[in-house]
């Protein structure tokens, strides 16, 4: 089983290498990561993907934006346990966008606005932001 997993990882690594060389020909790599559910696993996955994209291409060679809406906005709550990771990614250029519509909806439920991570940038609507980014050539990925 371990050997099988090892073989799979090697194969995937090779494919990553191919992808890297393919994209190396492009001038600009742009990825938008959508998060719209609040599970721990998805939050971790989104941050891992952002981190690994930067590792694969270099922080100066890839533009990444994480757009959070619906329950996915929990990732950008002020007291989210991933706060340190978000800060580190933001420092490396990853943009985090918080859906204003979602904030308004949560405000109705909570009776007060949720406290949002200061690293996040407010956008009117998360899904609209994603549409705009894809029109600009961003690749939409929903881990």
């Amino acid at each position: 089983m371990i050997r099988l997993l090892g073989a799979i990882l090697v194969a995937v690594t090779m494919s990553v290498g191919v992808a890297t060389s393919t994209f190396a020909a492009d001038k600009e790599k742009k990825v938008v990561l959508q998060i719209s559910d609040g599970s721990t696993e998805t939050q971790t996955l989104v941050l891992n993907v952002a981190n690994n994209l930067q590792q694969a291409y270099g922080v100066d060679n890839v533009k990444i934006e994480v757009v959070a809406f619906s329950a996915g906005l929990r990732l950008l709550f002020k007291d989210n346990e991933n706060g340190n990771r978000i800060a580190a990614l933001a420092q490396n250029g990853v943009r985090f966008s918080a859906c204003e519509n979602t904030v308004k909806g949560m405000t109705k439920i909570l009776g007060h606005p949720p406290e949002i991570n200061k690293q996040a940038v407010s956008v009117p609507a998360g899904i609209v932001r994603i549409a705009e980014l894809t029109e600009q050539g961003y690749l939409l990925v929903r881990p």
């Binding site: 494919s15 992808a19 721990t40 991933n82 439920i109």
Partner: protein, 451 residues
């Protein structure tokens, strides 16, 4: 473009699988048990664990063929070997509204066969039912039934405990028993499980389960991080009545706890690596008819301790020192807290635990053998019961442990405990030693799985 997208997706997924998870969930027991991780907690996270064991006690009977409780296996005390579903717990924890991390809850049910369920004949019992409010920075509030702040061995999550049985100092000095408060009869030895010619014991002298290191009350607590150093505190007031939901003596127990830990950066959750020092105290009163006059008296129950814990894989080490004044437990065969008949109705008698003292310590360590699934553990524990009195009993044990981790959630634990118990103020075969002589080694094999 589609091919590129597919490749990129594959890369992202593969990379995510191999990446290091770096959660920042606080790792001390106060925070792990009392709070949920911010921004990620579910409305209802179902979890639990099962522990099944086989134990064998090699103790010899006394000169008349009788067995005392330390020579029998708990909680039933009617055999020297056998299987037992020691713990079977299932619980739910989370945040009622996932958008509001400031409110957390924790519920846990025990269905195994141990001092929690055996004593009052219940099949399932709540061990935890609490709500935490995180609204005030620096002063989180937890209310309900939960583990009180105290010794590491009691406060830690039991499914992460590296041994099958507690040390004697934790088991006897800290794990509180609640025998009937009415004196069963003056001038007689009321022991329900005195040395038996066949292993057997009647435990109906208890009207409540063991305390399980828990109490019902309210606790203020929090943890503060300064660089690589974390300072934690807890202050609690509780009923002092163990797992029972309500108070029984119109007096509250108080608990204080302070810890400081240097974080070395590795591990997470219960296995966060660091060097921790802690100090704690507990104070309360218990009601008991100690002189058999039909009237309850109040007796102090004071406990205090300090210790340290180190974890930096592959090594770990723990040491604790604990003291106690009043309500010194003398074993399940002496629910009136007296060791001999002469002390039954005299709380000040040298054999009576109501006003006595106890002291003990343990040191243990282990190594996760690199590149294997094995872990080796070694522990020495000492407890002086009725410390300083004529009837002082010294409990000493070396425990050798070997664990095999099938995966991160399932492991087998083998323990070999070499035990030595004696009354130092009496010769061989005299006084308490007449029954203590012959206490032998104990083998334990336990399977633990967490879900």
């Amino acid at each position: 473009m589609n091919a590129i997208k597919r490749t990129l997706l594959a890369m992202a997924c593969a990379s995510a699988m191999g990446a290091t998870v770096n959660t920042a969930q606080a790792a001390n027991w106060l925070m792990l048990q009392g709070t949920e991780p911010g921004g990620t907690a579910a409305r209802a996270n179902v979890w639990g664990f099962v522990q099944v064991n086989y134990q064998a006690d090699t103790s010899e009977p006394n000169s008349t063929g009788g067995y005392i409780p330390p020579k029998l296996l708990g909680p039933d005390l009617n055999t020297q070997q056998g299987f037992n579903v020691n713990r079977a717990r299932i619980g739910v924890r989370g945040t009622p509204i996932p958008l509001d991390d400031k409110v957390n809850y924790f519920i846990l049910l025990e269905g195994g066969n141990n001092g929690i369920t055996q004593i009052d004949g219940s099949s399932v019992k709540f061990t935890d039912a609490s709500v935490t409010l995180n609204h005030i920075p620096g002063a989180r509030l937890r209310a309900g039934l939960f583990k009180y702040p105290g010794a590491e061995e009691g406060l830690q999550a039991i499914h992460t405990f590296d041994y099958v049985n507690f040390t004697e100092v934790s088991n006897q000095l800290l794990l509180e028993r609640f025998p009937n408060r009415v004196h069963p009869g003056a001038g007689t030895n009321p022991a329900p499980c005195d040395p038996q010619n066949t292993p057997a014991c009647n435990l109906n002298r208890f009207d409540g389960p063991v305390g399980a290191f828990r109490d019902v009350g309210v606790q203020l607590f929090d943890a503060f991080t300064f660089g690589n150093f974390e300072l934690s505190y807890a202050a609690m007031a509780g009923n002092g009545n163990g797992l029972n939901f309500s108070d029984n003596n119109n007096k509250l127990d108080t608990y204080l706890y302070l810890s400081g830990e240097w974080l070395t950066g590795g591990g997470q959750g219960p296995w966060r690596e660091g060097l921790k020092f802690f100090v704690w105290s507990q104070n309360g009163e218990r009601q008991f008819d100690g002189n058999a006059d039909g009237v309850y008296e109040s007796y102090d129950r004071k406990r205090a301790g300090l210790g340290m814990k180190f974890l930096k894989k592959p090594w770990r080490f723990t040491a604790e020192y604990m003291t106690g004044e009043g309500m010194i437990w003398n074993g399940p065969d002496k629910p009136t807290w007296a060791l001999v008949a002469a002390g039954d109705i005299n709380p000040a008698h040298a054999s009576n635990g109501l006003l006595a003292e106890g002291v003990g310590y343990y040191a243990e360590g282990g190594i996760y053998i690199p590149n294997t699934n094995f872990q080796v553990d070694l522990r020495y524990d000492y407890y002086s019961r009725l410390d300083g009195s004529q009837f002082q009993l010294d409990w000493k044990a070396w425990t050798l442990g070997l664990q095999y981790h099938f995966n991160k959630k399932t492991r087998a634990t083998f323990n070999y405990a070499m035990r030595d118990v004696n009354a130092p103020n009496f010769g061989t075969g005299a006084g308490p030693n007449a029954n203590l002589d012959g206490i032998g080694d104990r083998y334990s094999l336990q399977l633990t799985t967490i879900f």
